[in-house]
């Protein structure tokens, strides 16, 4: 199957119009020795054949759509209202490019403006951009912004920040003069004493995640105040769904707040595409990475929208741009816009509440098992860390649950060797009481 409609006869006619006798004449500039003789790619397939092939591959994977799951650890599967898929599938949303020609892209631009507005509302921040790749690269870009804005060389990042995000940060700043230093955690949260000792006037920013990778709630306001005392910027990585109940970053003094927005209306998709949320204060507006849509007027003074402050960006500023990003995650931002519109303030609260209630219920039930104990005594939102005793290996827990068709929690050992028996349990609104009870009973019988 191919999608090139011109017939061989039409192509011949077109070659005659061009003034050549064969296609080869158009390739005079491609040296003969570089010409490909035969592509090493299999023959094409018809639509039914592709569907059979793809269906076979997809069928081998356990899908979270119907399997109950306790797996989160940075990628959270949440309910997606039907309307999100139905609207986002429209070709007018799926198939345009970045809206360079504002007059022919008013719908996209207004949707981005609404997205920016709603992200600001959820985070209580002053400015949001049109999105970055994912939560991890947003966090890296936040640190880079802080390094440049402060002119200081040192970044403190808590070990309670997702390890993959810390790795991406490391990749992004490698080769620069910046020093990345890790802050330890004590009893599951960032060690504020260590922060106090490490803070100094060479500090560009401090980075914390809320809730952190163990599911624990961090002392964000205290950490922000300590950072500000030495003139550093406070960077928060927040889980958008939690903001229906939890204090937003703007309220505890974040200068830059980022997050992974995939959970707002897009499926987990094996971790990507993600949706990098990026927000900051008005003071840092001109250093923000990525696209911004702004509201303005047209020649007839009517309200209209356009990409704006583009002199920050690579296509204008080239090597002096605030970031190299071009394509971002526009379609996921649209999905998030639809999702946030449908939920509204009450829906967000209900959603967060449902997560919080279920997670507390599940934790209580799981702690009935004599071989599980809490790793930390900290408040949590929808994720928590338990430790199994010596006799029960984390992998055994996963096996028992898998037999029940349940996707188990995340064993933390590979990320945190100090927690060899740590299990990170995530409970969202998608997990029914029945599934939680079934998991507990299966574990009671088998371990």
């Amino acid at each position: 199957m191919d999608y090139a409609p011109n017939t061989d006869q039409q192509l011949e006619e077109m070659l005659r119009t061009i003034g050549v006798s064969s296609f080869e004449d158009l390739l005079a500039s491609v040296p003969e020795h570089l010409r490909t003789r035969r592509l090493s790619v299999p023959q094409g397939l018809s639509e039914p054949e592709v569907l059979r092939l793809a269906g076979g591959l997809a069928g081998q994977n356990r899908s979270l759509e119907d399997a109950p799951a306790f797996l989160g650890a940075g990628c959270y599967a949440h309910t997606i209202p039907t309307v999100v898929d139905a609207l986002a599938a429209r070709g007018e949303w799926l198939t345009p490019y970045t809206p360079y020609q504002a007059e022919a892209s008013q719908g996209i631009l207004q949707a981005i403006y609404e997205f920016q507005s709603m992200v600001c509302a959820l985070f209580e921040m002053e400015v949001a951009n049109a999105s970055l790749y994912d939560g991890a690269s947003s966090l890296a870009e936040a640190a880079i912004l802080a390094l440049r804005a402060s002119g200081r060389p040192r970044v403190l990042v808590s070990e309670g920040v997702h390890p993959h995000a810390r790795q991406v940060l490391g990749t992004y700043v490698r080769g620069s003069d910046a020093a990345i230093q890790e802050l330890p955690t004590v009893n599951g949260v960032t060690d504020l004493e260590a922060l106090s000792k490490a803070a100094g006037d060479d500090l560009a920013c401090v980075v914390l995640q809320q809730p952190n990778v163990f599911g624990c709630l961090e002392p964000m306001a205290q950490a922000a105040a300590m950072t500000h005392r030495v003139g550093g910027l406070f960077v928060a990585s927040a889980y958008p769904v939690s903001l229906g109940l939890l204090q937003p970053p703007g309220a505890y003094g974040a200068d830059i707040a980022v997050g992974e927005g995939r959970c707002l209306g897009s499926p987990p998709a094996y971790g990507g595409p993600g949706l990098g949320l990026f927000t900051t204060t008005a003071a840092l507006l001109r250093r923000i990475p990525g696209r911004l849509a702004g509201c303005t007027v047209d020649a007839a003074r009517a309200r209209s929208f356009t990409l704006t402050l583009q002199t920050r960006e690579q296509h204008i500023r080239r090597e002096r741009a605030t970031s190299n990003i071009c394509t971002n995650e526009g379609w996921l931002a649209l999905r998030a816009t639809i999702f946030m519109s449908l939920l509204g303030p009450e829906g967000f609260r209900d959603l967060a509440r449902s997560n919080c209630d279920r997670a507390h219920y599940a934790r209580e039930r799981l702690l009935e098992l004599p071989w599980l104990r809490p790793a930390f005594g900290q408040p949590f939102f929808n994720e928590f860390t338990l430790v199994s005793d010596e006799r029960v290996a984390p992998q055994a827990v996963l096996r028992v649950l898998a037999k029940q068709g349940i996707v188990g929690p995340w064993p933390l050992a590979s990320w945190y060797p100090a927690l060899p028996h740590g299990l990170l349990w995530c409970v969202t609104e998608r997990l029914s009481r029945e599934a939680i009870d079934r998991a507990v009973e299966a574990l009671r019988g088998a371990c």
Binding site: P5, R62, T95, I108, L245, L285, T296, L342
Partner: protein, 490 residues
């Protein structure tokens, strides 16, 4: 008709979505969450019904030009048809609803797809391995540049210069700067391709690599590519190819055979995955054999008949994505490559080139093309002669919108005055191309007979020319809170 903001449709108490009633005990929030962690003020989000949202978002969609609705000859962006079949496959729950931390045994089909996709990309480009992790072209560039830096570091030397042609995409110098390189520009010669003499002058022992685009942004094949890579390799510097224009090379030539050491592909261009109004994209990076140790991990691998993730190369440059890249996009690209297969991809490359040359042949008398007798998949006109009538490339772009065509890329590449960069792609029919030719010729007439009509375009859309200067001077980037004076950021 203008559409109000969704917040302007808000009515207190209205709901668009409800969760099922709770089947677990309600936790006492005052007990569970410390006071300082609890949100005190609900977010200022719209309160609207499901139908409000459907009508609003549908109306907004109708204000967009898209590939599905209009010819979209945006140069360098390869706005080809995005097959619906790709969407159907990507939405299969076995792909869309898998979790990146599930045990490998639960996602064998997906891992097999990723493994095969890497092999297909190797086959199409002649590179030896790929990382599928970068989320878009410019993140691919970043990963590639980190690999170049790591390569020289492994040889225990510091090289700080990155050579980049003056015709390059803006992301190239931006990515190089972000990777800590000094950018040195190499001139294009009178033929529109890299000036080898100028390149030689800049070739010092401080050069880490050369980032070039082939075909370049003028739509011309860099015919000296083997000489160029030879020159770089003499100094043990690397050749990076920006693969944004790979569509022109499908079945024609493979970068691996040109001496290219590493490149990124833009799956949202060459491999038909939708642009989504600005992403998601995907920018896999392919490398030659001697660089594969530097690829960021993890990498999908095959052990016997099983697929798994390994840590990647010993000297890997480190993760660039939170998980494994834009897998949803990778599934679409795989579907496309398997659908077209060898003959389909060859036909795509060939037709893209014929379509571009057909447009060029029919337009160049009115819109001169300063470089190249024939082009590859795109070409660049100059509209500087219209300045005499007080008409700019931007004016012609806006007037094209009135004719129902999206505008080509304007003012890029920077080496062409009043540049107008046209890329039709292979999925447009001759009839559509003929319509575009008629529109462009009609506009040329208007420039002579009624230049104001062009200068004041667009006139047939829902908005007139948008005031970008005001947008930048008085940034208004979000709606203000109820009761809050229209607070402007900046």
């Amino acid at each position: 008709m203008a559409e109000p903001l969704i917040i302007e449709r808000s009515v207190p108490g209205r709901r668009g979505f409800r969760l099922p009633p709770s089947d677990v005990p309600a936790v006492d929030l005052e007990q569970a969450l410390p006071a300082e962690a609890r949100r005190t003020q609900a977010p200022h989000l719209p309160e609207v019904s499901e139908f409000d949202v459907v009508r609003h978002v549908t109306r907004l969609s109708q204000l967009n030009f898209a590939v599905d609705t209009h010819f979209y000859p945006l140069g360098s962006c390869t706005m080809k048809y995005n097959p619906k079949l790709n969407e159907r496959v990507a939405a299969l729950p076995g792909f869309a609803w898998t979790h990146p931390l599930q045990p490998a045994g639960e996602v064998q089909g997906l891992l097999q797809l990723l493994f095969e996709l890497e092999q297909l990309l190797c086959g199409l480009t002649g590179m030896s391995r790929f990382t599928l992790q970068p989320a878009a072209g410019s993140q691919g560039e970043l990963a590639g540049l980190k690999i170049i830096a790591a390569y020289h570091q492994a040889k225990r030397r510091r090289r700080s210069t990155m050579l980049i042609p003056d015709s390059a995409h803006g992301t190239n110098p931006a990515s190089a700067a972000l990777s800590g390189f000094q950018v040195v520009q190499v001139r294009s010669g009178p033929e529109g391709v890299i000036d080898v003499k100028d390149l030689k002058q800049h070739l010092t022992d401080d050069v880490a690599g050369f980032m070039l685009t082939n075909p370049n942004t003028l739509g011309l094949f860099e015919s000296n590519i083997t000489t160029i890579s030879g020159l770089l390799h003499e100094r043990d510097a690397l050749v990076y190819m920006d693969g944004a224009n790979m569509n022109a090379l499908l079945g024609i030539a493979r970068p691996g055979e040109m001496g290219v050491d590493l490149l990124q592909l833009n799956l949202h261009k060459t491999f038909s995955t939708p642009h989504g109004g600005g992403g998601p994209g995907s920018g896999p990076v392919g490398v030659a054999e001697r660089l594969k140790d530097f690829l960021p991990g993890p990498q999908v691998c095959r052990r016997g008949r099983r697929y798994a993730w390994d840590r990647g190369g010993r000297r890997g440059v480190g993760r660039v994505h939170g998980f494994y890249g834009n897998v949803g996009v990778l599934v679409r690209a795989y579907t496309y490559i398997r659908s077209l297969g060898r003959e389909g991809l060859e036909r795509a490359g060939r037709t893209a080139i014929i379509n571009a040359n057909y447009l060029k042949a029919n337009l160049q008398d009115l819109y001169p093309v300063p470089y190249g007798r024939f082009c590859m998949h795109e070409f660049v006109c100059t509209l500087k002669h219209l300045k005499a009538q007080g008409v700019t490339a931007m004016d012609v772009a806006k007037r094209l919108l009135d004719y129902g065509c999206y505008a080509p890329t304007v003012y890029f590449p920077l080496i062409v005055d009043e540049a107008f960069m046209i890329e039709p792609t292979e999925t447009e029919s001759k009839e559509t191309l003929d319509e575009f030719i008629r529109a462009m010729r009609a506009i040329a007439d208007e420039v002579r007979t009624a230049p104001d009509r062009v200068r004041q375009a667009p006139q047939r859309l829902t908005v007139r020319r948008v005031d970008e200067v005001k947008a930048a001077r008085e940034p208004n980037l979000r709606w203000s809170e109820v009761g809050e004076p229209a607070r402007r950021a900046g």
